[in-house]
């Protein structure tokens, strides 16, 4: 060895593998404006489509006149439900087992519902045309309040379901009822409540909001009449699922459908489902034989494509006087809008809401969820969270604070008293989950220590006293949140979408020069997969991450996968990547043994190659093994170095975290200031700390937005009043608080690299931290629960209701 021989540390660093703060490789093109998004796809002769939408929330469509529209220069055709009926596509199936109108068929059921699709030579002509389509409506009584959906005299929304007493998830008890979902032991829970020394009950609402990605939903469909092939470029979080759905509903052979998800500007659940725009653009292309582009504008995105949340959770906890929880009872009224288009695994009508026992050792629990139809846009997607996990975390974290208040206990102490203990893992929850791992006490205590929680409580006490003496008009709140997520859907035993198990996949091909390409069934929308996936491979097989190209989103080349949402990419595809890499490594070991003339068992792995045990100078690097794989493999072995893995996870993963929000509120204006926000996340093994930090920053910013003002609000007539960024709260960097991040590491015992997923944790844990801070601030004035969102005027209203403002 000479001085030039790299040290072990240098060799490890050169890989930029797991644990490295590797810079995001995709940012080189994004920051230079060289990304390739759907709207960048411009094909010769491409046409443009746009929708005529309903101004009414509930109305009968008496007639649609298209003659004037067809006279507009550039307008080629107008598609209506009648047109779509000729190809049996006036309705489409939803991921939740319901059906949805593609274009209004006799009725409209929500404002901005798609009524007709105008096809023109350019976007301007399409819009000129849609303004000339004359639709005659007969307005019907709108149903806006979900609590009135099952009133006896509630208007009938879904006439197509007349007489159907059973839906996709069992019996329907009313014409506006979709499903009832029940989990847990009712009798045992009722008994716990009968015997309880202390109980609390509160209706906790998680308002309707929207994922609102920077890039809206869009597609370009191009049908080749000669080949009979349909190519779709689209903003798809799950491109393979889209291909299968298109094949099933359009009756096209699946091999003749090419789905390409190019660069995507954010998804957050908004781009999982199928929308009328995709169907109409595809039909338009088939009919005209030309490519057709459909691009949603911001108002359309906010008002017509998949909202999130809208869960109204009546929550009860039974406990002892000492603060030990003994039972949990939750009833959810779920407002699904006009069609049940939730993007949950098919057997889970309320997603994984049964994670609602949270991080606590509830001996028993009982949950019922009623889904209802209203005259609002369909959706119910997982906005930066695993399916309905955000709602569940908000529900239990708010309820624990309410219990603490009733008991006169500190909310952090109450949590510590009820946490599942480290020795209880794997832990079987009362509502049916097996938590794989966790160390909640350590995380919580670290949060309390780093933030000096005790000192903050003391400060709060003295400031409350000062407020009561009239010396200040500001109140201070501490928002504690301790969340457990359930992500990584999912094991084939309980997770599928339309019958396809929710595995994920990876294919790795190593090239002779020690470089390679890896393809997955996932699809990054900003998560940085091109960076992190290469890091897993780098550590597993000792090839620098820079030498691995990661490619996703093309269904012709990528192995089948279920896509990216619900923080499933690292738990599922991340595992597939490690498993495929290990197959490569196993073959590499055989090649190295052959070349080094030893038995495989005599080799040991050493950072970036194999070494003969006891003979340190006999070493073959992975780079050299790649070359050998193409010219001198052992006799009988196939040449080449490739592997594919389809990974069916044995369990979900359960990331957790401890957050604290310190907030000051001016009671006279309701204006709040987030003084400090501390977020400790435990996502198991950390692949790229910089990307984790970025994910946490983004998720917390969304959580901040949701808790403090972001909502899709309807007036009494079903008119959306927050349909643009003027009123739909999208914070800028000026409003966004500073984030302090921290971590503990509790690896997942069943995941090949111990990783759990992190992208959605900050949204799940952040919302209760903000809301608890507001509620904690007001609690000394006598309130127990104030509904979100906590925007300025509502804070002022709370202060006024509590007598703090004249």
């Amino acid at each position: 060895m000479n001085d030039m021989t790299p040290t072990r540390e240098q060799r490890t660093a050169a890989l930029e593998g797991m644990g490295c703060k590797r810079k995001r490789v995709e940012d080189i093109r994004f920051t230079q404006g060289k990304g390739n998004y759907v709207d960048d796809v411009k094909l010769p002769g491409m046409l443009h489509g746009d929708f005529v939408r309903s101004p009414h929330a509930h109305a009968r469509v008496k007639s649609i006149k298209t003659e004037e529209a067809l006279k507009v220069p550039g307008v080629l055709a107008v598609i209506t439900a009648e047109t779509l009926k000729t190809v049996n596509l006036a309705w489409m199936p939803t991921l939740a087992g319901d059906v949805q109108m593609v274009l209004a068929d006799g009725k409209v059921l929500f404002q901005n519902q798609e009524v007709a699709f105008v096809i023109a030579t350019d976007r301007y002509a399409a819009d000129d045309g849609l303004n000339k389509v004359e639709v005659e409506y007969e307005q019907l009584a709108p149903l806006v309040d979900p609590f009135k959906a099952m009133d006896q005299d509630a208007p009938v929304l879904r006439e197509d379901l007349a007489g159907k007493t059973t839906g996709a998830h069992g019996p329907r008890k009313h014409h506006n009822h979709i499903f009832e979902w029940t989990v847990g032991d009712k009798d045992l829970t009722d008994t716990a409540f009968r015997k309880a020394e202390v109980t609390i009950k509160e209706m906790i609402s998680y308002h309707r909001t929207h994922p609102s990605p920077l890039e809206t939903c869009q597609c370009v469909c191009s049908f080749d009449k000669v080949k009979g092939e349909l190519t779709i470029w689209g903003t798809f979080q799950a491109p393979h699922v889209i291909r299968t759905v298109v094949s099933l509903i359009a009756k096209l052979p699946e091999q003749k459908i090419h789905v390409i998800a190019p660069d995507i500007g954010g998804g957050f659940g908004n781009k999982v489902g199928a929308y009328p725009g995709y169907i109409c653009a595809a039909v338009a292309s088939i009919v005209t034989g030309k490519p057709v582009k459909w691009v949603e504008d911001r108002i359309e995105n906010l008002t017509a494509t998949s909202f999130a949340r809208d869960y109204h959770m009546t929550t009860e906890i039974a406990a002892t006087r000492e603060g030990k929880v003994t039972g949990l009872r939750v009833h959810v009224l779920a407002d699904h809008g006009a069609f049940d288009a939730c993007a949950d695994p098919s057997k889970w009508p309320a997603g994984f809401f049964n994670i609602v026992t949270g991080s606590y050792d509830f001996p028993t629990a009982h949950l019922t969820v009623d889904g209802v139809y209203t005259n609002k846009a369909p959706g119910g997607v997982a906005y930066r969270c695993s399916f309905r996990v955000t709602e569940a975390a908000y529900c239990i974290e708010r309820a624990m604070d309410i219990l603490a208040q009733k008991l006169g206990m500190d909310p952090a102490e109450l949590r510590l008293k009820n946490f599942i203990k480290p020795e209880q893992f794997p832990y079987h929850s009362a509502l049916g989950w097996e938590y794989d791992s966790g160390d909640y006490h350590t995380a919580m205590r670290k949060m309390m220590e780093v933030t000096d929680y005790a000192a903050l409580r003391k400060e709060q006490a003295s400031r409350r006293a000062a407020f009561k003496r009239g010396e200040t008009r500001e109140i201070m709140g501490l928002g504690v949140s301790f969340f457990t997520e359930i992500v990584g859907a999912g094991p084939s035993k309980n997770c599928d979408i339309l019958g396809i198990a929710m595995f994920d996949s990876c294919e790795i091909r190593m090239h002779p020069t020690g470089a390679g390409i890896a393809r997955m069934g996932t699809k990054s929308q900003g998560q940085g997969h091109e960076t992190t996936w290469a890091q897993i491979i780098a550590t597993e097989i000792g090839i620098p991450a820079d030498n691995i190209m990661v490619e996703e989103g093309n269904t012709d080349t990528a192995p089948y996968g279920l896509g990216t949402y619900g923080s499933r990419s690292t738990p599922v595809a991340g595992a597939a990547i490690a498993m495929a890499a290990r197959k490569i490594k196993a073959k590499a070991q055989m090649i190295a043994a052959y070349k080094l003339e030893v038995h495989e068992d005599d080799l040991e792995w050493d950072i970036d190659g194999f070494r003969v045990k006891g003979l340190p100078e006999k070493f073959m690097s992975m780079k050299d093994i790649c070359w050998a794989a193409y010219n001198s493999v052992p006799p009988g072995m196939e040449p080449g170095l490739e592997a594919v893995s389809y990974y069916d996870p044995p369990n979900m993963t359960y990331p957790f975290g401890a957050y604290l929000c310190v907030m000051d509120i001016d009671v006279d204006t309701g204006v709040y200031k987030v003084r400090r926000f501390y977020a400790l996340d435990d996502c198991g093994t950390r692949i790229n700390p910089m990307i984790i930090e970025g994910q946490v920053h983004g998720g917390l910013t969304e959580a901040f937005a949701i808790a403090m003002g972001q909502e899709i609000r309807y007036d009494d007539t079903g008119n959306v009043v927050t349909g643009s960024f003027m009123d739909f709260f999208m914070p800028t960097m000026v409003e966004t608080p500073h984030w302090e991040t921290d971590f503990t590491v509790t690896p997942s015992p069943h995941h090949p690299i111990g990783a759990k997923g992190v992208g959605e944790s900050p949204n799940v844990g952040g919302v209760p931290a903000f809301s608890n801070a507001v509620n904690d601030a007001f609690s000394f004035l006598g309130s127990t629960h104030i509904q979100m969102p906590h925007d300025f005027w509502r804070n002022w209203q709370a202060a006024k209701t509590l007598g703090a403002v004249a």
Partner: protein, 287 residues
């Protein structure tokens, strides 16, 4: 969010612009920074057949001092106001207010002329113009005329501008040295219109308010001059009770609409608070 068809004109002189607007009649709209008109066109809430872009008219630009008056060309952008040393020295409240309008990208395009002439009750400059006693110069086929800001606003989007007239410049008397000023704006986020805002210009003598003008933004269908509120503080040292009296007097003339910023009661309440805070801050700045 795609506008309908329109013709685009870019006259090179004020005379040409005035003639074009007169010839084209009601179907034409002058285009300044475009940050109110263009979004309205994209929503097809405004569908002018002709846009007369004023960017080619050099006479409409610039900031100059004429004795004790500052004259600002209508096409001067908010960014140019913020960068101007003359404005910093003579009319610092203009900079404080401009910095609270939208965001830097909008301020590079948005003009003071467009802001004051559009008649949008949410715009920040109109109330300020009333407080400062500004005069607007309007040009039309019939010649030029001056209209005081306090007489310009007639209703939401209704102003003293006659069809075919263009607001060409704004003249503002320089407030006396040592004056106090403040623009207090409560908004939900960067880029938002005011939930409520108050502009105050005052002068102090021997610890008491000598002169005072108070303007209100987005609390009525037009900007308001809160004269009773201003009178309530003149001769006082802005004691707590006086401030409350001024706020109450201001609230008495407010008639905001309920919107996503809050119900009427809230908007009036915080309107009063903006008045109190602006008075205190202005007094603190006065020599």
């Amino acid at each position: 969010m795609i506008p309908g068809p329109f013709s685009y004109h870019r006259p090179a002189s004020l005379a040409d612009a005035v003639k074009l607007l007169a010839d084209l009649g009601d179907d034409a709209r002058p285009l300044a920074g475009g940050h109110s008109l263009v979004p309205m066109m994209k929503l097809r809430l405004a569908t002018p057949a002709h846009l007369v872009d004023l960017h080619g008219v050099d006479d409409l630009k610039g900031i100059r001092r004429d004795g004790n008056t500052i004259v600002i060309g209508a096409m001067t952008t908010q960014h140019e106001l913020l960068a101007s040393g003359e404005i910093r020295q003579s009319l610092p409240i203009l900079q404080e207010t401009a910095a609270l309008i939208a965001d830097p990208q909008v301020r590079y395009c948005g003009t003071i002329g467009g802001n004051v002439a559009n008649g949008d009750p949410g715009n920040d400059m109109p109330a300020l113009m009333m407080v400062l006693g500004a005069n607007f110069r309007l040009s039309g086929l019939g010649g030029e005329r001056d209209v005081p800001a306090s007489e310009f606003y007639q209703g939401a989007y209704f102003t003293a501008l006659e069809p075919g007239e263009i607001l060409t410049s704004i003249s503002i008397p320089v407030p006396p040295a040592g004056h106090g000023y403040a623009y207090e704006k409560l908004k939900r986020k960067v880029g938002d219109y005011a939930t409520a805002a108050a502009a105050v210009v005052l002068s102090m003598a021997a610890g008491k308010v000598a002169t005072c003008a108070i303007g209100l933004t987005n609390l009525h269908e037009t900007p308001l001059l809160a004269t009773d509120a201003a009178n309530a503080v003149i001769g006082t040292s802005l004691e707590a009770a006086t401030l409350k009296q001024a706020a109450a007097a201001a609230e008495a003339i407010m008639a905001p609409a309920a919107d996503a910023r809050g119900p009427v009661e809230y908007r009036k309440h915080v309107g009063g608070i903006m008045v109190m805070r602006a008075l205190q801050r202005a007094a603190g700045r006065a020599a």
